[in-house]
């Protein structure tokens, strides 16, 4: 009885929409006990967490993945324009070569380098290795530094080879 009283006084009831209740409520065959679970803080809560390298690298992995989703659609449009003909292709390349197109492509260059390098980090974790927090912080910083360097190098090469 005392335990139930403590549970019902959990401080996380107010102000949190969704949480465990909503996650559990789409499972079929729910027990009433599970439905009555109090809302718990969901992770990650950006407002209560201190920013650190591994957190930033995790968020950037998702952000770069979503960016590359858009990038794939830009690639699809490129292939379709190439298939349609010279006018379509020239127009599309002019769009990509314009100021907005250049900003988008610069972001996509960073995204593809970041997502690839950080993806290797994830593959190493999937193999059950390199979980040490300090080492993870280090590799996060290495990946971000690689992204900046590789993106700069790519655009310098593009400038020198007439790709801009």
């Amino acid at each position: 009885m005392r335990l139930i009283a403590v549970l019902s006084l959990t401080p996380f009831d107010a102000g949190l929409k969704g949480g465990w209740k909503s996650i559990l409520s789409w499972g079929e065959g729910m027990s009433d006990n599970a439905r009555r679970l109090p809302d718990r803080p969901t992770s990650p809560h950006l407002t209560v967490w201190r920013w650190h390298a591994t957190m930033l690298s995790s968020i950037l992995h998702r952000a770069s993945g979503v960016s590359l989703y858009a990038g794939a659609l830009i690639l699809a449009a490129w292939a379709i324009c190439l298939a349609v003909g010279p006018e379509c292709y020239a127009g599309y390349m002019a769009l990509l070569g314009g100021p907005i197109g250049k900003i988008v492509l610069l972001g996509l260059t960073a995204a593809i380098f970041y997502h690839t390098a950080n993806g290797i980090r994830h593959l190493v974790w999937d193999a059950g290795k390199a979980f040490d927090p300090k080492f993870s912080d280090l590799t996060a910083i290495v990946v971000i530094a690689f992204t900046v360097a590789a993106t700069a190098a790519t655009w310098i090469i593009a400038g020198m080879t007439g790709g801009l």
């Binding site: 079929e28 065959g29 009433d32 998702r62 699809a76 292939a79 298939a83 593809i112 993806g119 801009l164």
Partner: protein, 133 residues
């Protein structure tokens, strides 16, 4: 309301869907393959950017370029479809919105993936191209 379900029946209802492993493996296999393919794609973009229309068509006529283009496009669309599905499942908890977005994602990645591959093949396999390169 009192629940008359047995603990066992409750556990059975909340258990795994029994089909997650193949998706997990597919995510990793596409990841491994996309590491070299992504680097190749950046290299290819640098090569093709200054070529213009005829140069790009000729470039795609090379079997190796076509092969890597198809692999990169196909695996990228597959990989990003699985990734976006995870993001949708993470953040969307309303059943109707969840299903709608998952369906939309499935149509987008598969539809645009097929369209890209068709476009690449059409360019690469066209014989009547007056390109002397």
């Amino acid at each position: 309301m009192t629940s008359y379900r047995t603990p066992r029946s409750r556990a059975a209802g909340l258990g795994s869907a029994k089909h997650g492993v193949s998706t997990w493996i597919a995510e990793r296999v596409t990841s491994v393959a996309l590491v070299p393919l992504a680097l190749w794609a950046v290299f290819a973009a640098l090569r093709v950017a200054p070529m213009g229309y005829e140069g790009a068509v000729a470039w795609l006529h090379h079997p190796l370029n076509l092969t890597f283009s198809l692999l990169f496009a196909g695996l990228s669309f597959y990989h990003m479809g699985m990734g976006m599905a995870v993001i949708i499942e993470d953040y969307i908890h309303r059943r109707s919105t969840l299903v709608t977005l998952l369906l939309l994602n499935a149509f987008v990645w598969f539809g645009f993936g097929v369209a890209t591959i068709v476009a690449l093949l059409k360019v690469a396999l066209a014989t009547s191209v007056g390109v002397a390169l």
